[in-house]
């Protein structure tokens, strides 16, 4: 699944981006704001790592980008989820739930698994 501290953050960031984009297409800056907002400011996104992450996800085919005009009449690059991205989101959600459950069991010291 995930390994190494750096990767953990990377994988999580991608998951958060997928989730944010599943609500509506956004540009990079808006994405950063939305994620902070959604996590109730627990996660302060390192903005610099957002763009490489977006590039990686674009390469993997989970998101697509297009240039649009904002409400303020400025040009910005908007990202949206692809069907593959939606599938990936579901898949990640499941994995995350499974692994957090497992961590919980370990932390709370229950002997038997269900």
């Amino acid at each position: 699944m995930r390994s190494g501290s750096g990767d953990l953050l990377q994988g999580t960031l991608e998951l958060l981006v997928l989730r944010a984009l599943s609500l509506e297409p956004m540009h990079g800056w808006g994405l950063a704001q939305r994620i902070e907002q959604m996590s109730r400011d627990v996660f302060r996104i390192s903005q610099g790592s957002l763009y490489p992450a977006l590039q990686r996800m674009k390469r993997k085919g989970w998101i697509r980008s297009e240039w649009r005009v904002t409400d303020n009449n400025r040009k910005a690059r908007y990202y949206r989820l692809t069907p593959a991205g939606e599938r990936q989101l579901e898949h990640e959600k499941e994995s995350w739930k499974r692994s957090s459950r497992a961590v919980n069991w370990v932390l709370e010291g229950h002997g038997s698994a269900t």
Partner: protein
């Protein structure tokens, strides 16, 4: 799906790199502006808002870099950049680039061309069905060398009795006059028993093959089968040719079939095939061993079994026909081996020679790259100091070397194609299977790989080493460059290796040259200038018996001798250089065999006309020559040559002695001894020979020799007119001056010599340039030392000899190592040398002398330059 998306993205990243970069810039600018707005909204001042925005993002450059990296095409961009540098580097030093690419191209091209030829001729099986099951059967006799021949009655008996061979046939080729509409010309016609072509597995592509029922002696009408090439050129590949007739020697032949495109081994010259015109089992032809054979092994049989079986059959034939078959063995030889066996030594030698060339080129490439690496040391040091990772440097060097290798490989491919074609075009006649030669792609790939790998193997580590920053070296000033010392050692090794390899080739070339010179020196023992020679085949239909043939020849000789410019005319059944020859027969002194033992000595025999020896200028050393007196009703006489007289009549005079030859059913009296005709092989002694009078034993096919006072070519026309005048169906064959035949003998040795000579020259040049480069570099690097020495009083001559010594040391080591290799290589030449042994000490000494001289000359330039150094300037340089 994901793979496709990734691929598309990466492709976009490469193709639209600039646009992607601009988009990213815009996006990041947008981000900064949004953040600034947000910050302003939170109450910061404009400068603070801007500063915080940038801080929050984390710096534009790292983000740019990280995002570009995330595109996943970094390696490709780096590669393109490396290629860019590589090309620029090549342009900076065009001489270096050119010499490297050219030598690589030459080496790869030459080795591929030669190996392709060798592979096609030697290694690939014949283009026949189940070619490895086809054999040829040869009757062997102690006096025969190399030829594979048999007689038709023997072949018939073998076919009847053999279990291990399922198809046996015999065939030969002869010249026939072809008449189709207007005009007559000569074609080579193959005459064969019905089993010959089927044994080879050549089913007709059109029509049918002739069989037992088509044999003329059984009353069938004459039929003929065309070779594919003849059918295409003469009949335009028209299928309606089947059923038409052509006239051969005045007889009409119906065309019944066309052969497939493969060449007929052993008898490639035949353009039309007809059945044997007489019964192959005719007893009086049992001793006429003028046929090639082909046979196919039965499904389960092995060649050794066939050999054993045939030996038994032959022994029983020898018992049944002792006069004719006694003393003749039989050999079963795989056809492929027979076809290519004669050229195997030559081709193997070329293969090894060209492998040596390839090796030299690889070593040369490595040396050049090492030298350049040292020259670029400063660049490498600076780049390392600026933070270039070793991996990146290595990749770049690899790319550069790879680029050079690719260019060299492309040139090599071109040269290989051209070289293969020219080898085929320039090859001496008689090389089998040349028509199927093409460039072998595998070999090309291999040669390319060899050259590239050697370049990489040596060039890259040397360059990296040259770039290493050692503290000690930084502190030291003006010392020879770091990493340069081990590089120089490496270069020494490489140059020595090159010289050793060059010696091998030069030794081979030297031997071939000596051998060729020996051939040029040939003293034949007869007149070769001013002699015209040709052969005639009087058609069976017009000249049916011996008397008619004899009368024809007498008349022809008379008419020819009356031509203006003709000094003398002679005839013979075979002769030096023309070929022919019937082998040998055992003989006994006296009238009738004194014992039944088969250990009787043999003598080669010929039928010659009265003025033959006179025409060729061979002297009569004892007794008299043949004359018209020795006619059909006179008592049988013969001449012998001096070798025969020496060997078999050491004490007494042979004149008047009687000789019996049971195989030929004749007893002759020796009336004269003639001088020896030297065989065309220096160092081979002439064999005993016996000459019958062809007025007493008349031959159908005969060679004519005509001595002329004017240049022989001028008489071609008149001679042809005389012959055709006697019979329009009888065209003189192989009409040429004797000097042409001599020249033909020289073609193959000359070819060998020239090809190996060119390789040797290339090797010498590369070796000389290599050692020159190394010594020149050493002198340059040691300028300071030399300056010091000169300042301390060393005379210029001493400096020069010091430099020369350095160079000659390398040459000496190279020669020493190379000598071992040369001895091994020249062993391959033993089949190709005439009159010179492969370990001839004189040649090897001369080779060593050549190498030393070349090395001396190559080192002389830097040595002289060193001795001219101005010590003050040398000392002042860093």
């Amino acid at each position: 799906m994901r793979l496709l998306a990734e691929l598309r993205e990466r492709l976009r990243a490469i193709l639209f790199r600039d646009r992607e970069n601009r988009d990213l810039e815009e996006e990041l600018q947008f981000h900064i502006e949004m953040q600034i707005e947000h910050n302003l909204g939170a109450g910061m001042s404009p400068e603070e808002a801007r500063r915080q925005a940038h801080l929050r993002l984390g710096g534009l450059t790292p983000v740019r870099e990280a995002t570009r990296d995330a595109r996943g095409v970094r390696w490709l961009e780096a590669l393109i950049q490396d290629l860019h540098y590589g090309v620029r580097g090549m342009r900076v030093n065009p001489l270096f680039t050119l010499s490297l690419v050219v030598t690589l191209g030459l080496g790869i091209g030459a080795s591929t061309a030669v190996f392709s030829v060798v592979d096609h001729i030697l290694l690939r099986p014949l283009d026949l069905r189940e070619a490895d099951r086809i054999v040829t059967l040869c009757e062997t006799h102690e006096s025969l060398r190399g030829a594979c021949i048999a007689s038709t009655p023997n072949a018939v008996d073998w076919a009847a009795r053999s279990q291990t061979l399922e198809a046996i046939g015999a065939a030969r080729d002869e010249a026939r006059t072809l008449r189709r509409g207007e005009g007559a010309r000569l074609v080579t016609v193959g005459i064969a028993t019905p089993g010959f072509l089927p044994a080879l597995g050549l089913p007709p592509v059109l029509g049918r093959m002739f069989g037992e029922a088509d044999m003329p002696h059984l009353g069938a009408g004459h039929v003929a089968v065309l070779t594919h090439e003849f059918w295409m050129s003469e009949f335009n590949g028209d299928a309606d040719a089947i059923g038409t007739t052509i006239s051969l020697d005045g007889e009409d032949h119906t065309l019944i079939g066309v052969l497939p495109q493969s060449a007929v081994p052993q008898l490639e010259r035949a353009r039309i095939w007809v059945p044997l015109p007489w019964d192959p089992a005719t007893e009086r032809f049992r001793q006429w061993r003028g046929f090639r054979t082909a046979a196919r092994l039965a499904p389960e049989a092995r060649p050794e079994e066939a050999q054993a079986e045939l030996e038994v059959i032959q022994a029983s034939l020898a018992a049944a026909y002792p006069d004719v078959v006694e003393g003749w063995g039989v050999t079963v030889r795989p056809l492929h081996e027979h076809v290519v066996g004669s050229v195997r030594p030559m081709l193997m030698m070329f293969l090894v020679a060209v492998a040596v060339v390839l090796l030299i080129v690889c070593v040369n490439t490595a040396g050049l790259l090492v030298a350049r690496a040292v020259a670029r040391h400063r660049e490498m040091v600076v780049r390392t100091a600026l933070g270039a990772a070793r991996g990146r440097l290595t990749r770049q060097l690899l790319t550069e070397t790879g680029l050079l290798a690719v260019l060299g490989g492309l040139l090599g491919a071109l040269l290989a194609a051209w070289g293969t074609r020219s080898l085929v075009a320039l090859a001496p006649p008689g090389i089998p299977r040349l028509e199927s030669v093409t460039v072998d792609a595998r070999v090309l790939g291999f040669a390319f790989l060899a050259a590239a790998v050697s370049g990489v193997l040596f060039g890259v580590p040397a360059a990296l080493r040259a770039g290493r920053l050692e503290i000690a070296d930084v502190l030291r000033e003006g010392r020879s460059r770091p990493g340069g010392r081990s590089a120089t050692r490496l270069r020494r090794v490489l140059v020595t290796a090159q010289l050793a390899l060059a010696l091998v080739l030069v030794a081979g070339a030297g031997l071939l040259m000596r051998s060729f010179a020996g051939l040029l020196d040939w003293q034949p023992g007869f007149e070769t200038e001013h002699v015209l020679t040709f052969q005639v085949f009087p058609p069976q239909s017009t000249y049916e018996n011996e008397d008619q043939v004899r009368a024809l020849y007498v008349e022809m000789e008379r008419q020819l001798s009356e031509l203006p410019g003709v000094e003398s005319v002679g005839t013979a059944s075979a002769g030096p250089l023309f070929g022919g020859g019937d082998g040998a027969a055992p003989f006994f002194h006296g009238a009738g065999p004194t014992s039944n033992d088969s250990e009787a000595p043999s003598v080669a025999w010929y039928d010659v006309g009265p003025s033959y020896f006179e025409t060729l200028g061979v002297p009569v050393v004892d007794g008299r020559g043949l004359s018209e007196v020795d006619g059909p009703s006179a008592r049988p006489v013969a001449l012998i040559n001096a070798a025969m007289a020496q060997q078999h009549f050491p004490e007494t005079s042979p004149l008047g002695a009687l000789i019996t030859l049971p195989a030929l059913e004749t007893i002759v009296e020796i009336v004269g001894v003639v001088g020896n005709v030297e065989p065309f092989l220096p160092g081979v002694a002439p064999e005993p020979e016996l000459y019958f009078s062809n007025r007493q034993r008349t031959r159908r096919a005969t060679y004519f020799v005509v001595r002329t006072g004017i240049p022989p070519q001028r008489l071609s026309g008149p001679v042809t007119d005389v012959v055709l005048g006697l019979n329009p169906d009888m065209v003189p064959v192989r009409l040429q001056p004797l000097t042409d035949l001599v020249g033909a003998q020289l073609v193959r040795p000359r070819f060998n010599m020239v090809l190996v000579g060119q390789f040797a020259l290339l090797a010498l040049v590369l070796g000389a340039v290599g050692i020159y480069g190394l010594i020149a570099y050493t002198v340059e690097a040691q300028r300071r030392e030399i300056g010091i020495r000169m300042a301390l009083g060393a005379p210029r001559a001493r400096i020069m000899s010091w430099v020369l010594r350095e160079g000659l040391l390398l040459v000496g080591i190279g020669v020493g190592i190379g000598a071992v290799g040369a001895l091994m290589f020249t062993r391959l030449l033993s089949g190709l040398l005439y009159g010179v042994s492969p370990t001839d000490p004189l040649s090897l000494a001369a080779t060593a002398a050549v190498m030393v001289t070349v090395g001396l000359v190559a080192c002389a330039v830097p040595a002289i330059r060193a001795s001219r150094f101005d010590p003050m300037l040398a000392l002042r340089r860093e």
